[in-house]
Symmetry: C2
Subunit: 263 residues, 2 copies
């Protein structure tokens, strides 16, 4: 894989898309050409890559002609919509969404954990949920060396896990609260009132400013959230151990991402 | 214990002392008299109890004459300093600090968990760390019914766990950051610079605004923090099971206390 690749980023304007672009740049990834794809709303805008201005194109089924690798981070719906077009174009879709992670013919890969699984891909390689990645990088070597009996995981997930809108929501709520309260007692006392008067939350179902809640994504019939079950199911798949015992508690906290960078 | 009691609050002006006073009031605790004790700095100030203004007195060894129950929340050092005076006065010290929790002749009690242990007190009854209390109220009935094999606990501890100064620090840091950054990217970029220009932190060794850190109290030789080992040792004592396997991860989060009230 030494020849430079024709790369597309699908969802280039999102919080993750921006990081994909910056990572290609920072790591001197051998890029022969870079195509920035997004919805019609963003088409025509420009983003810089290696000092050059690239124009964002609207993603269509024709976008993937000549592309070797398409990095997708535009939501599960978009990944499903364009999967066939990517495969038909002979490109490999590397998908950051949850769309295909548990499909039997899609490898779920973290390079530090199970790089060998990329070999059996059929046009789509998925990467796991953020919390699964972080946990398995630490835990997979222990599993290989000793074998895991059971995993108990608790997460502390920043507002940015919900993308740019999550960070905006944390900022807007915090600003509103500080503008109206001179100390923490007053802030606590007026918390619900102040938040009721600003834009209703879009990213989170609960207030995020100065709050934590064990509720990321929707609850499943078994009482765990979808976010928690991702860690269970994705870890079992990646460690090739379908009966591994895992319990996860996923909690949203009002923090920045652990390594913030300027977009 | 139906006769009204002569009660003292040692550390009446602290965040916990204030809550003690309000709890006595809210629960109609049978108080024959209430003495508010604090350091010389607070002596002469006034606090309201049941509509009456009480003058705060400087705590001395003579303060406990005629007192039945002395509720202490003024730090471990103060509890140690006045223990003998309280016992000599024939009062019972109910101590919120960590000073005596693991002493063999001091019962460590949560009423919902091990009320029977108050019976063997010798003048001092301790109550456990906040996280131990919350966990054991849920877990003790399971232990009684089935027996625990192992406990894995992760905490999400608000800034108020460090008292009033913890809340002030969270507020001050958050205000400074929002004053200088228009969005989350800028805030992240300038985080260290902004915090370096305001008062250095007193409550926490790490920045608390928009941050989480797995570091509450000092690290012990075994790699756990003192806060984490409190949960281990206090739970073993209260459940009368010195070999119970417990692992705890204590994390500070930039939240309010779970049920904020006005002081």
């Amino acid at each position: 894989m030494n020849r430079p690749l024709h790369v597309a980023i699908a969802g280039a304007t999102g919080a993750v898309g921006v990081e994909m672009l910056k990572t290609l740049e920072r790591r001197n990834f051998p890029v022969a050409s870079l195509k920035l794809l997004a919805s019609a709303r963003s088409a025509g805008k420009k983003m810089k890559f290696r000092g050059e201005e690239l124009v964002i194109e609207e993603m269509t089924e024709a976008s993937f002609k000549g592309v070797d690798v398409a990095l997708f981070s535009a939501g599960a719906g978009v990944s499903k919509q364009f999967r066939q077009a990517v495969v038909d174009a002979g490109a490999v879709m590397v998908d950051n969404s949850s769309a295909f992670r548990l499909e039997d013919d899609v490898p779920l890969v973290v390079p530090e954990v199970n790089p060998e699984d990329v070999k059996w891909h059929k046009g789509v390689i998925a990467n796991p949920n953020c919390t699964t990645i972080i946990m398995l990088v630490a835990v997979a070597p222990l599993h290989r060396a000793f074998g895991l009996k059971r995993l108990v995981a608790s997460t502390y997930q920043s507002a940015s896990g919900a993308g740019a809108k999550g960070m905006l929501e944390l900022l807007a709520q915090t600003k509103a609260l500080l503008a109206e309260a001179k100390d923490m007692d007053e802030l606590a006392e007026r918390y619900r009132d102040v938040l009721a008067r600003i834009d209703p939350p879009k990213a989170f179902g609960d207030p995020i400013a100065f709050n934590v809640f064990p509720h990321i994504d929707v609850f499943q019939p078994n009482g765990y959230t979808k976010e928690e079950m991702k860690m269970v199911n994705e870890s079992r798949k990646m460690l090739h151990d379908p009966s591994l015992r895992i319990s996860c508690t996923s909690v949203r906290v009002p923090s920045l991402s652990s390594r913030p960078r300027r977009a």
